[in-house]
Subunit: 183 residues, 2 copies
């Protein structure tokens, strides 16, 4: 091989090591996730979005992480927020999940669907579980920002209240129930 051919081969090999964005998305389409709505008010009005990236990372201190895509209209305001509320949605909140995943609408237009915590953050009505916390770390990751949140307060349903959670998988919403259990 001459030098140009060698160079071309090197570039070709390098690209073989790059997974395409489409293949990456296809892989994760097969990965189910619980559905959350993250809200905040960084000072200029309520913002919120539907997220399928909320994970628990530490119990002591209580820390969660979620990812904000640069392609979400609410991401810049949420990335600025000092505190956020993470709502873990039940299946009866499917319409809420859809509203907070829709672009170009006022997601807070229905004034009966939300109120404010004493600390100011928007809180969605009829949410079985929510957590309020302070953003303690931000990590830039490609076209997203990974937010680490230390949880300060939470509403946790009692052990006798069993809410079926909402799950997202392969562009479809699902519920879990005793019928979906496996052992």
């Amino acid at each position: 091989m001459n030098q140009a051919q060698t160079q071309a081969r090197l570039v070709e090999d390098a690209f073989k090591d790059m997974l395409s964005a489409d293949d990456f998305k296809s892989a994760f389409r097969n990965h189910p996730a619980g559905v959350s709505v993250v809200t905040a008010d960084p000072g200029d009005g309520p913002v919120g979005l539907t997220a399928t990236s909320v994970i628990s990372v530490s119990a002591n201190p209580p820390l969660l992480v979620f990812s904000l895509s640069a392609f979400s209209s609410a991401a810049p305001a949420l990335a600025r927020a000092e505190t956020v509320v993470v709502h873990l949605l039940g299946v009866e909140q499917l319409e809420v999940a859809k509203v907070f995943a829709t672009s170009g609408i006022d997601r807070f237009a229905d004034r009966s669907s939300w109120s404010r915590l004493p600390t100011g953050e928007p809180i969605l009505a009829h949410t079985p579980t929510w957590l309020r916390g302070r953003v303690v770390n931000r990590m830039s990751a490609g076209d997203s920002t990974v937010m680490a949140v230390q949880v300060l307060q939470a509403q946790v349903p009692g052990p006798d209240i069993t809410s079926e959670p909402l799950v997202y998988h392969n562009r479809t919403w699902h519920s879990l129930s005793p019928q979906s259990a496996r052992n």
Copy 2:
């Protein structure tokens, strides 16, 4: 109030702002998640664990994040790894999920259940979707380490192959199917 009482009140108020580890765990028990097994071989043998914290954070470049609890026996070796393989499990891999969540056993004892990629990482047989990547960032977060991985290769099932994914929720394994779909 005297000074001691004032001090006691301040401490009490500060603790009101601390969510207990138990309440935090109760909240996330209500949050379903897809089930993965993360494997690696940092140089002294194969290691792996079952994780419910794998999220996609960026498609361009392709980046995923997962959390390693300090309480998992495999965590120190995985945290040292330069490359890892993330297996997104199907419901037919329930036993694999259980093996890699069990302490005190040799999780790689069944030699027919895994092999190695040409690059050396352990790869589990019969996994519909897996992604191999390089660890590009580590973030300490309480009693865990958040790992950011740039994906280099992936096996993605074709559009005609529909594998039912495995989901974990409230200490129970679930599957998704057309019957669990909601609209």
